[in-house]
């Protein structure tokens, strides 16, 4: 239980720090780079490294490559939809997460399973 709380606190702090960095920079396309910063990964991998060792971290990182490809598809689709349809950001970004799940698990089944 204490490990989960620790993960929550470290994850919250690292993600907030990267998000704040993203807010500070202009132009927006450059600030957007921080939207795909390895914030969750850094918080998780640093903790996992001390608890489970390097081999475990390497296995997680291998799957993360697939997750990052899914992120690329997700962000590209969100960008295209927002530019062409001018819908509200929350429904578009939240519903597109299903696309991330589809691409991530699809690629994982095809390439890594």
């Amino acid at each position: 239980m204490s490990e989960i709380v620790l993960r929550f606190l470290i994850g919250g702090a690292v993600v907030s720090a990267f998000a704040l960095l993203g807010d500070l920079f202009k132009p927006k396309s450059f600030a957007g780079l921080f939207g795909a910063a390895p914030s969750v990964a850094l918080a998780t991998l640093a903790l996992t490294l001390s608890l489970e060792g390097a081999r475990y971290v390497a296995t997680e990182a291998r799957s993360m490559v697939v997750g990052a490809i899914a992120f690329f598809v997700y962000a590209s689709v969100v960008s295209w939809v927002m530019m062409h349809y001018k819908w509200r950001a929350l429904p578009v970004t939240a519903s597109s997460i299903l696309l991330w799940f589809g691409v991530a698990f699809g690629l994982w089944c095809v390439c890594l399973r």
Partner: protein
């Protein structure tokens, strides 16, 4: 436009917007840990690249853009959507750097000092992301000119 820092945004952002991002960041990090414990690191690793706070950040950008336009008496719907689109395009570039970060960790961490490997991977993410952003910035005006150019008669 050159890369610069705008500190005004810190004052514009409300406390609950910071709290929301802390909550989402903390929740996804804890969840990724729980998933890795339950289903193994092969599945847990996927969630290290989950777009956890992107919806919150995009909503924040949209709200700030709308507020800015509202002060000028405008609705700002189109401008806000464009701002989110541009930020998402930046995130798409950043995600290529994110994949390179993961690749660097995967390949280097078993045979090198783990902390150095993590540090090296951060440098890979940062360098590649900025480099790709510069390339896109350089070629975007050229692409726009090609699109606008009249199609010659064959």
């Amino acid at each position: 436009m050159k890369i610069h820092v705008e500190l005004d945004v810190v004052r514009q952002t409300k406390w609950y917007e910071y709290a929301l991002r802390f909550l989402f960041g903390g929740l996804i990090t804890a969840t990724a840990g729980i998933i890795a414990k339950k289903f193994g690191p092969e599945i847990g690793g996927l969630f290290l690249a989950f777009p956890a706070i992107f919806p919150a950040s995009a909503t924040l950008i949209e709200n700030h853009e709308r507020e800015r336009k509202a002060r000028l008496g405008l609705k700002g719907t189109k401008r806000a959507a464009q701002a989110v689109s541009v930020a998402a395009a930046g995130a798409a570039i950043g995600s290529i750097g994110l994949a390179a970060f993961a690749l660097a960790v995967w390949k280097t961490i078993p045979n090198h000092s783990p902390w150095l490997a993590l540090l090296g991977a951060i440098l890979v993410w940062m360098t590649l992301s900025v480099l790709l952003w510069q390339i896109r910035k350089r070629f975007a005006p050229l692409r726009r000119r090609i699109k606008r150019a009249p199609v010659p008669n064959e």
